[in-house]
Symmetry: C2
Subunit: 587 residues, 2 copies
């Protein structure tokens, strides 16, 4: 037996007990004739004491231990003379009588401490050592507790977890699939699911009523900081429901998680904000409501006073940053640079300070009378000491998105985005279609199975852009943590959607034929939602990237640098798959 | 709101309540002026009553309903005059006041009943309809309850569920990998995991102490009835454990499942049978212990009496089938045909009946005196009315395996393999290596990380075939439901293993380098186990194939006949992946 207790278990009440512990050497300290070793495992740290007067050879053995050695000790639990209140085991130590080295360790390439000296690249290469740091392993323990609670909640609500296949058919529409060549079916390929969307709808046709699955999904996209080629979805679907049923149930799940994991009791229903309001007031379909700074449109007030930039604008709008009138010229210049960065793309920034006497002092004073500026101040309900920041542009949506970035930046600068504060809402009434300049046509904003609002169905023939969907996203702190929709269960309406989206009959048949076929045999009304597990965990762990809540993430080139994947295949493997690699020169 | 109750919920106590139900039309029956509709959902069946005297139009509407229509009804719960005790809702029916057809249905291609008229192929093509049959959906509900209980148990034992990557590196050793071309890394491929073996070992190096994951694994093999290209494993690993620790914990999990899912309390420890005994007594490393019929070796008794077949045999052994002396000549001929089938490959079968007077009458009487036959009878402890069946051959292991097949067949014929009876055991002390005639060398019986028994380590240099492993399989009713081993955590020993298995230093480095590297930094002693979820569910559901406990299985060619995958890709997709399909003519 390697141990009688873990390194996080022993307390003062255990004093006198003979115990055996195993773990890693975190640190060795010599103090006079004593040697102290911090022994670490997942559960905690226990101090080992070696007394050279008592057993010089044993103490010498302890002195020779290196960091990260794996050892086993026998000894007696004794009360510490100087207790450590920061440690759960801090009242005791082990007077060691026997020490066995189970495995030695080379010196790790970075220190196994929360504040490590290891950079990102080396930590990823030696991820198994990085994961020893409690600040990283904590995220995975949190992830486990969250999935346990998610399953507990959904099971209590009669949801059934059903595994859908990983090797499925490819659907060239939408994002790019990862594909898997089939050896048994030469020249043919499986695809890895971007989501189990069609299978969960089939499960509703099959009568399972309430389905969920915590499931890996795959998307072959060029990666950004918060994207991974494989990610985990909490995928759910329900039958005989309307939008409010789905929202109620999954709001309940969010509240269950906040309560059980973070100890936060959210008693009020979450706000439901129409997409058009979210865009108008925050320039985003995932507004961060931890702080106000709602947009105020200023076209009526600021247009037509001779300032050409505004006079020619399709949109003029601003935010009011409470108490930020103290911003220096340098800070304002930095904000101007911020909005002019190519990722944001604004032409410039107009600002106005509300001074102590109530007067407004702006960067465009020569065009505006104090009277007009006071009207503007009133529109913001701005107070002395506040700073008004204004953007304009010739594209309403683009300018709103720029103003959104500015708002978030100001929220950060003013400390209004506390990671331990949570603002949850539903964004509802999304447009069913969005115009694609690239394709020159309307595309499905979510997917082609999303149901239009019944009252908007007549608009399908007259004003596609105005049709609203029975679709909803949950947003927490500016992060879209999940979203879903009521699906179309009527095959006529579904066919019409395919037609509107420019699918030929044949192409719709090829790609979605089995779903359309299924709908012939009594599909129930249904709808669902998918939450991003990685995002939920990041949010609860206070992480900036999803990467640190994933055990073995990939880098921005989709590589696992630890096990050096992907890699070339053996010629025999390619041969069996009837494939030839033919790398084209980059154009 | 689509419903106030499910179709399995209402009882006599609800009589008088106004309710709304939704579901599928299972059956419409006309009886005098009444029409009765069985309304079905996942939760049960509720009878709807329509009275033509009361509302002729509504009754007419009910009469026009087809099977599998999706409907919604409002009505009042009333007590039935003729109750149905087979139905949980059998005391009540709904006097319907309003009927809405939510969706119509074409006539399904087979009947949605437990005893369906649909063959295997059509049921797979229309799997979403097949899944409506309660005998099929029941398996998936069972699967869900089992995974919930597995997680509950492992969580209570401090196991952490950690997701390991699905896109990993390919290891050409072992079974064939499914591979995934990487667009971002031209000419390179990921592989799908055959198991998360190396990752779970890395998680032990990372200090997670107790890991589990219910996870999809992939193997590109030619498929048999009980194999699927993707299957689900309950994958587990523990640190600071010896074999008995792992066995104890996972025996606990099995007992937890038997208790919570099947209501069977198993209080005794499972038998632990050395592999050599299993082979000697049952000719199998997964003996079905629901019945006895242990092998008895007969070399000493039957050799050297002039019967050339036995005299030249390397093995003579038999089983005693209690009470089967009544077998007719025809039945015995069928048994002979059974063992001579090419899949089994025996040359013939010798039988002997113990007659009422205690005399033994055999098919080889001319070679043996009654005295010898009585010695044989004594060796089996056979009684009057018993049937002794004997095989022989020139390869001990092969003949034992043939005798194993005969034993299982006799068990089935004599009704000794009751699906509601469970016989669990551990097979232990597996050989570390097995000889491969094909490769002309010893191969790892499990995988190259399996630890030899410490006392057998000296044999590595002198008698590889005799080295036993710290490996163990759990066997239930002749099915290997899981297995595992204590791993090597010492890099010297691991290197020696690679050497013995014929890996060059370079090849070992290429394939397992990152694991070997990890072992330099303090790997704890560790070991684990993987259970086959599909097999556990099949066992508890009493299924002959794992296919019916999988929502969307593939056929023996690895095809999903419902969504017709795999399929050819679009040229653009191949192009982006730098691949050309080149199908060779079959030789």
């Amino acid at each position: 037996m390697y141990r009688t207790h873990t390194c996080g278990q022993l307390r003062l009440a255990d004093a006198g007990a003979e115990v055996t512990l195993s773990g890693w050497v975190q640190r060795v300290r010599k103090l006079g004739g004593m040697t102290f070793v911090d022994l670490r495992d997942r559960y905690g740290i226990t101090q080992l004491a070696f007394d050279s007067e008592n057993d010089a050879a044993l103490c010498e053995q302890a002195n020779s231990l290196g960091r990260e050695y794996v050892i086993q000790v026998d000894g007696k639990v004794i009360e510490r003379t100087s207790k450590n209140s920061k440690l759960a085991t801090g009242d005791i130590e082990i007077a060691v009588s026997r020490l066995t080295v189970l495995n030695s360790s080379e010196v790790p390439p970075f220190t196994i401490e929360d504040n490590t000296d290891g950079g990102d690249d080396i930590r990823m290469k030696y991820r198994y050592l990085d994961l020893r740091r409690s600040c990283v392993s904590h995220n995975l323990l949190l992830r486990h507790r969250m999935t346990m609670e998610i399953r507990r909640y959904l099971d209590s609500m009669n949801f059934v977890e059903i595994e859908t296949p990983v090797l499925i058919g490819s659907t060239p529409e939408g994002a790019r699939d990862f594909v898997v060549p089939s050896r048994m079916n030469p020249g043919q390929f499986y695809a890895l699911p971007q989501s189990p969307q069609m299978f969960k709808q089939l499960l509703m046709v099959a009568g399972f009523d309430r389905y969920f699955q915590i499931v890996k999904c795959f998307r072959d996209e060029d990666l950004r900081a918060d994207r991974q080629p494989e990610f985990t979805q909490i995928d759910c679907e329900m039958s005989f429901v309307e939008q409010q049923d789905v929202i109620g149930l999954f709001e309940g799940m969010a509240k269950h998680l906040f309560k059980t994991i973070r100890g936060i009791e959210l008693t009020e229903p979450f706000m439901q904000m129409p997409w058009s309001d979210a865009m108008r007031l925050y320039g985003s379909d995932k507004p961060d409501l931890r702080f106000g700074m709602q947009f105020v449109e200023l076209m009526d007030i600021l247009k037509g006073h001779g300032f050409a930039v505004f006079d020619n604008a399709a949109y003029i709008g601003g935010i009011c940053a409470t108490g930020a009138a103290t911003y220096t010229r340098k800070q304002l210049d930095q904000l101007t640079d911020f909005v002019k960065r190519p990722q944001i793309g604004a032409k410039g920034l107009v600002y106005a300070r509300v001074e102590a006497d109530g007067n407004v002092k702006s960067s465009v004073d020569k065009f505006y009378t104090q009277d007009v500026l006071q009207q503007m101040k009133a529109a913001f309900d701005a107070k002395p000491g506040d700073l008004i920041l204004i953007l304009s542009g010739d594209d309403v949506m683009k300018t709103r998105k720029q103003l959104c970035e500015l708002r978030l930046e100001m929220g950060s600068q003013l400390g209004l985005r506390d990671k331990n504060k949570f603002a949850c809402l539903w964004v509802v009434d999304f447009p069913l279609f969005e115009w694609s300049d690239e394709e020159g046509r309307f595309m499905a904003m979510h997917h082609p199975f999303t149901s239009p609002k019944p009252e908007d169905i007549p608009l399908l023939d007259t004003d596609m852009g105005a049709v609203r969907a029975n679709a909803y996203d949950m947003v927490v702190n500016g992060v879209e943590v999940g979203g879903g929709s009521i699906r179309i269960h009527d095959k006529q309406l579904q066919n019409k959607m395919f037609e509107l989206l420019g699918f030929t009959q044949q192409r719709a048949e090829e790609q979605f034929g089995f779903l359309m076929n299924a709908f012939k045999y009594g599909a129930p009304p249904h709808g669902g939602l998918a939450y991003g597990l990685d995002r939920w965990v990041s949010l609860f762990a206070g992480l900036d990237s999803i990467r640190d809540c994933i055990a073995f993430p990939k880098n921005n080139s989709g590589r696992d640098v630890m096990c050096d994947a992907p890699a070339p295949l053996e010629p025999k493997q390619l041969d069996e798959l009837n494939l030839v690699v033919d790398i084209k020169e980059k154009k």
